[in-house]
Symmetry: C2
Subunit: 710 residues, 2 copies
């Protein structure tokens, strides 16, 4: 290995590489076997991404054989090192090592399912968390590296909370493989900056520096001094010049990384994409099979039989053979350690084991107030009233904000920041790794993506809570999606929803964003209407063990309503004010729920129209109810028209309402009440619109069944 301070090398011609082949005979055979396996796997269905996986072979051997602590036969071993393949399209790299190292589910037959039409394949086009040995689902670039930062933070937090002298019950390392893209994607850059700030010395990023992207040379679009940039971000940097063969050098770099005192480590490994194929060192090697004759040529070059496919010889099998047993040793040592720890620290040990099992104390709801002050309260403040006592008591929750502490009300008395303790001396920043309040900075996307990593450490061991203005969850959306896709429990507290947030104007008023989150599978988007419903929103979110939630709250004060019910929120929608002979149902939502009640009152007193009111905080929870409940709640089958009042794009409400008083354009910068008035959300205008609508339905100018925006 050559450790240099050298900068990023700009040439991508393989022949320019100093190919120091420090290879044992076994290594040579194992690397060849691995590379041919990848070539064959792509060739069978003539698709997939061979080049990167082939180029990274020596990195994989170094990791799985010599450095990484894991247990193929106990894949969920709690204190295992985590491996994240952030360049997820090279998934065959990981799948093949899972097979070779003895993960039971990954049989050779399963390995061959890559790109097949087998519905239960364990080898999808990108790694998926559901499958044995996969820590996080990757694919969308930049997400994995951010997840890895979260996994490393989880270790730091659990270690600082539970480790005691002689008992390092949590001390695993996180290894993350990246390609060029993770150094280009904003979410990756945000996460890199955070990892440096938090001084995560238990995180190593290995950069597959093959200088090739889909478009061609990386120099087409990126000519930075990447090592200098990483150093400026607070990382150790180690160069490996011959990443295709120099296993000894890579192992040494990885071990240096694990021994790092106070910085995360970036290992810049020079590799050749599609090594030894006819397209080696070119973009063509990235996303297409080599072709039958090229694969045959490599086999000949390597001294293999061109007619044989998927060959894993005895020497290669032997090379990996002892790994499951080694893994079980780790497991047994750790089990014993935890047993002794629990003997010495019974209370802490019990708490730790409950955390390992992902359990909250059964009586966690006792921390939620049973009732609230009667004064009008912004639901962002209600959210603090409901949740901060829980956060204070239960270490499961790690709570953070994208630089909006004064706005989101997530600080509990005595909260401690998650920080490296040395920042106290250097920058007068208090905190330590057992702290559970995270200053994410103005990095909404990384906030959500790193939180996915915190949640993925082990099921429900840590429940991350993020917070920002609702509008900026559009920045975070790709990561919110990845949380939902992976069935991770994460709670996003989104304040300043609706045009009622006021002066900040159209750039901050989330007209269309609810449509996205209501459509996103496996996500609860909940808009509570007062403190009581906010309690319901939190209960629903904390009970959703495999589903992330967004709790969407108001900047402005809302009246405390009399008939709202926290258990109603769990149903998605419920009748707030019934009237057997109603001629219209008003659907009220979140910050505008009280408007529906006021309009119902005014319709009665001024227009002689009888209205009933349904509170509708969450469409997805409502969809989970029975058809009967849904009909009884909405009563549209009885011919009662429903009008929804929400200053958002109406998309999706057409399923539940016949008309919407909605907003079809971007917002307007005005004080909250003036903004409401500007868009017709004063009680007088709303009442007139509903009455007028009913007249038009009666007069036949409008047809029921044709959704109308009023």
């Amino acid at each position: 290995m050559t450790v240099t301070n050298g900068v990023h090398v700009h040439k991508s011609v393989p022949s320019a590489l100093p190919l120091v082949q420090k290879l044992s005979k076994d290594h040579d055979l194992v690397l060849k076997t691995f590379r041919l396996l990848i070539a064959d796997l792509c060739q069978q269905f003539s698709g997939g991404h061979p080049g990167g996986a082939v180029g990274m072979a020596a990195i994989g051997v170094s990791l799985w054989k010599y450095v990484m602590r894991y247990a193929p036969h106990t894949p969920d071993f709690f204190n295992r090192d985590r491996f994240v393949l952030s360049n997820g399209h090279t998934c065959l790299f990981q799948y093949s090592f899972l097979h070779l190292t003895g993960y039971k589910a990954m049989t050779l037959e399963q390995l061959k399912s890559y790109h097949s039409d087998r519905v239960d394949a364990l080898c999808p086009g990108h790694p998926e968390i559901e499958h044995e040995g996969i820590e996080v689902t990757t694919g969308p670039l930049g997400q994995g590296i951010a997840n890895a930062v979260g996994l490393a933070m989880a270790t730091k937090n659990l270690a600082a909370t539970y480790n005691r002298p002689g008992y390092d019950v949590v001390d695993n390392h996180t290894w993350c493989m990246i390609g060029d893209a993770c150094l280009q994607e904003g979410v990756g850059l945000e996460a890199i900056s955070l990892a440096g700030h938090f001084r995560l010395n238990n995180l190593t990023v290995m950069y597959d520096n093959n200088q090739i992207t889909c478009d061609g040379s990386v120099d087409l679009t990126n000519t930075e001094d990447v090592n200098a940039k990483m150093r400026a971000c607070g990382w150790n940097v180690i160069d490996v010049e011959d990443g295709c063969f120099d296993i000894e050098g890579i192992v040494s770099a990885l071990e240096q990384a694990r021994a790092s005192k106070d910085k995360p480590t970036f290992i810049n490994v020079r590799t050749v994409i599609g090594l030894d194929s006819s397209v080696a060192g070119t973009a063509v090697a990235h996303g297409a099979a080599y072709g039958t004759s090229s694969v045959a040529d490599i086999k000949t070059l390597y001294g293999f039989d061109p007619e044989d496919h998927f060959v894993i010889g005895d020497t290669a099998r032997e090379f990996f053979k002892g790994l499951p047993a080694r893994g079980q040793n780790y497991v047994q040592e750790w089990d014993q350690l935890v047993k002794n720890y629990t003997t010495e620290y019974p209370e802490l040990g019990a708490e730790f084991q409950a955390r390992v099992r992902g359990e909250l104390p059964a009586d966690w709801q006792k921390y939620i107030p049973t009732n609230f002050p009667e004064k009008p309260t912004a639901s962002r403040a209600s959210s603090g009233l409901v949740f901060n006592p829980i956060a204070k008591e239960l270490k499961t929750f790690m709570v953070g904000t994208a630089d909006l502490s004064p706005s989101v009300n997530m600080i509990w008395p005595g909260k401690v920041d998650f920080q490296h303790p040395d920042l106290r001396t250097n920058c007068k920043i208090d905190g330590n790794y057992s702290g559970r309040y995270i200053h994410w900075g103005v990095r909404e996307h990384a906030m959500a993506a790193v939180s996915n990593g915190l949640a993925a450490y082990a099921p429900n061991t840590i429940i991350p809570v993020t917070s920002s203005f609702f509008m900026f969850y559009l920045y975070a959306a790709p990561a919110v999606r990845m949380g939902a896709l992976q069935h991770l429990q994460i709670i996003h507290v989104a304040t300043h929803d609706s045009i009622g947030m006021g002066e900040d104007g159209p750039t901050h008023q989330p007209i269309e964003l609810a449509a996205l989150y209501r459509a996103m599978p496996n996500l609860l988007y909940i808009r509570p209407g007062d403190s009581e419903e906010t309690a319901g929103a939190w209960i629903a979110a904390i009970n959703a063990k495999k589903t992330p939630s967004i709790i969407s709250t108001s900047r402005q004060v809302l009246p405390q309503l009399t008939n709202t019910r926290r258990d109603g929120v769990a149903l998605g929608a419920y009748v707030l004010s019934e009237n057997e002979s109603a001629s219209v149902t008003l659907i009220g939502v979140g910050a505008e729920l009280s408007f529906a009640l006021e309009v119902a009152e005014k319709l009665k007193t001024e227009k002689g129209v009888t209205a009933r009111v349904v509170s509708f905080p969450c469409q997805r929870l409502f969809e989970q109810q029975t058809l009967q409940y849904k009909r009884d709640t909405l009563r549209r089958h009885q011919g009662i028209s429903a009008v929804v009042i929400e200053p958002y794009a109406p998309n999706g409400w057409e399923r539940y309402a016949d008309a919407g008083i909605s907003v079809k354009r971007f917002g307007h910068s005005l004080p909250g009440k003036a903004a409401y008035k500007f868009f017709g959300y004063d009680i007088e205008t709303l009442t007139a619109k509903v009455a007028d609508y009913l007249d038009q339905i009666k007069g036949g100018e409008l047809l029921r069944g044709e959704f109308v925006e009023l």
Copy 2:
């Protein structure tokens, strides 16, 4: 000025600053006047963001008085320097200088409208492009700096295309003010990397380094060596130690920046947030008025009368007086230059002037094929057939991709890359600034945000075209939104839509994303069904002069259909196959349009059910049609049920259909056809579902008007 190589200073205590007060008497008075104006403007309605604007006063004086070339009385002067306030919450900074320098619309009365309930205020909570003197709408952090990169690229491209010796018809500079957030947000970091790569020496970023964010000290979340990071990204770095007072030093730094030979410049200006207020140097100064007594105290300190408000004395007025006249000189010189240029280069001059007016040649549609090969074609390929001939001929289009050149088919014969010409020598990368093909790298968010800047340079002078997989327009969404909000014409080519994209799996299959873009105001989301409709999609997008579009295309081949019509796309939806006595309308969309036709056929032959088919490429265009057209197209008022076939979340289709064959969960990694089959999108299953639905409606088990997912 102190130019040092010193790194980022971590202390935020104002008294620690070396306050070298190199102030002329006039400067002193002007700075005080400006700072009090900001304090008064926030105090009147007790809200807003005073601290940053106050801290940046000397930067503003340096820019508007001494360095920036602009014309207050001709705000849209084509060759003006562009100023972008990326930290948009400090908008009073810009509004106040617009007033002081003589922009006519920004009267003192208008200035006072900040945070008022005046509906036609020119002082919204963040700068808005609609208003005189504002180049781009900012607010969502990180967007502005990316826009600035686009503005600088626009200058480079127009200059390289049209300038001739002695005739620099385009040579303006772009100045961008940022706070800490733009150095934290991923989109900002992506844009910074691009600006360094493209060596945009006509771009200067001024960093208001006050070391304070909402949460407190920047050190809470960011302890990078920011100057070293910027250098690693290819930027010049200049430090200004006393940014509150050292106008001479700031001017010198700005002039150095304008003279930079081949790099963008980053000026790290140390300032104090809320200078001289009781909350100076603290987070409290960021987002709240100082309070009446604090404002009075500052007035006393400055020798002003505490009872007087909004005071702009004669000396301050005099200081800015000559700027409109200076501006008109720039305008006249440029007008004369363009006149002489057009005399010497008549053809080029005429073309340039048409570009300035934002005009395309009237006959641009002639480049679009009138018909297409009959063989099945992926609509991503159709898109290339339609658009690449236009891109080849018309310099208005700048076309780029987020590292997916081989997938998106946007390369025309002879295309030249937009690159700094020196990369040819250093990295063997061909291209120059007149090139119009942009390798954005794996930076979808910056691709869209920088494109907003390209489009904002002047209305329709450049029409940016971006491209990536549809799913990754979720990464780009905040910038796509800002394009729509600003009425910028940008065309996003989103390929690999629908589950039909196959093996890449659920991370790449955009189940819920269409719901976002169909709900987003002022955006056309168009899914064409074959080559003919793809022509229609492009025509609609190119005709939408104030609206961005997403053209959403398939990875997989689609049959060329017989009755599709490009002019039908302009209507949003149209009848593809009519049948007077139909008992069901099948709505077909994009890649699955042919499924609707096949199902209709099978319903007839196998179930004896008569179906009509509507092609529905764009909901927003359809909404713009008359009620009569909409009813005639869908015929739901005649009691005919409509079933939409689209493998997306159905949200929004409930307005047009009674039932949807949709997808309620995330996707699955399978080859395209197998993925369709897995989700029931084979013709047999689809047909059975429609027939079954009709039976259930007939039998009363389902009620019309209750939207059902089949």
